[in-house]
Subunit: 224 residues, 2 copies
Amino acid sequence: MSPSQEDLALLDVDAVLDRAAATLAAKYAGVFNTETVERCVRESYVALFRTASIRTHLPALAEHFAGDRLRALAQAGGAIDKAVPEVLFLCVENAGRSQMAAALLEHHAGGRVHVRSAGSHPTADVEGPVVQVMHEIGLDLAEAYPKPLTDDVLRAADVIITMGCGDACPILPGKRYFDWQIDDPAHQAVEVVRGIRGIRDSIDTRVQSLLAEILPAPTGAASS
Amino acid sequence: MSPSQEDLALLDVDAVLDRAAATLAAKYAGVFNTETVERCVRESYVALFRTASIRTHLPALAEHFAGDRLRALAQAGGAIDKAVPEVLFLCVENAGRSQMAAALLEHHAGGRVHVRSAGSHPTADVEGPVVQVMHEIGLDLAEAYPKPLTDDVLRAADVIITMGCGDACPILPGKRYFDWQIDDPAHQAVEVVRGIRGIRDSIDTRVQSLLAEILPAPTGAASS
């Protein structure tokens, strides 16, 4: 029996994932075994596949997700230095609150922290109104995608902020945890998601306080 | 700062997972790198943690899940021979249909196939009425737990049966796929889940047909 069109499409996916694994294995040569890299790419693909809706760009997303996970793992193991604090935002679906918080912190931090986000039960897509209200303030979530919390990303984090996902995140020693009470933007009107007393601005206020708290205070006077 | 009680509990979990990884690494010495085994154990733990409700037995479940995943990976890669066909049942929550089907097939097969199950969006626990109606026919689901579909388990399967999870499972060449239309037992009364025209018996009928289809027909006469 010759393979069907569907099978051929999958063989193409396999080839794309093989190339992604080869690229990442070369990048992390001497840090991770090829087997570790290949497993991370393959499992990232299936993890995204089972909750995604549109699969067109999934091999590329899986390569991105796996690359970020391997970077996190290298950070956690000390193979890569952390230049700045690593902050991880968690919510249930990784489709609203944690995506907004990550984009806002990245914006305000201007490179002084590195930000990741994940969900306990990731859904197919970032919420439309969330993308819209972030776009209104010039922040682009077009490349954002919901993804599950994984051990590698958790271990790399210095600061972990949970929003509405209860105790779905293991508590590890040596990390700072915050739990924020923020309304869930899922199925809410755009007006509720943006604006004064809205979800976006509540998160923005907290993100700015967080940034002040985790960054070292500026020294009193510049020496010359 | 000395670690809190919570931190100490987590350090204990770390130690348990380290021992689990060491045991599995010894079992798969020459097949998988230690790093691969350790990653599988750690990621299995976090994957179950983020969707579980009661975490008491989670390190033991993570060891079980990781052990099964590594066995699947060894089968898929040819390092372990498959003595019998590998059958994988998938549904959304891995809390009802796929758990019932797995238990029923295991029962009827009597060792002639090996069975796994998983979900696209696993929930915290197997449904209570499902456990009850299986117990009524002498099948024990006390040890069963919902778990996500992973690449390793998917690759090991020869036959994949999906129930209600749409296209959440990648199509791989060389495997046989079936899609069964079975009502979801979630939030259904026990009477709906068991009995004539009930979910359990619908699955049972299909499982017996499946078994007849995938097992080689007995030869006409024994030679002597």
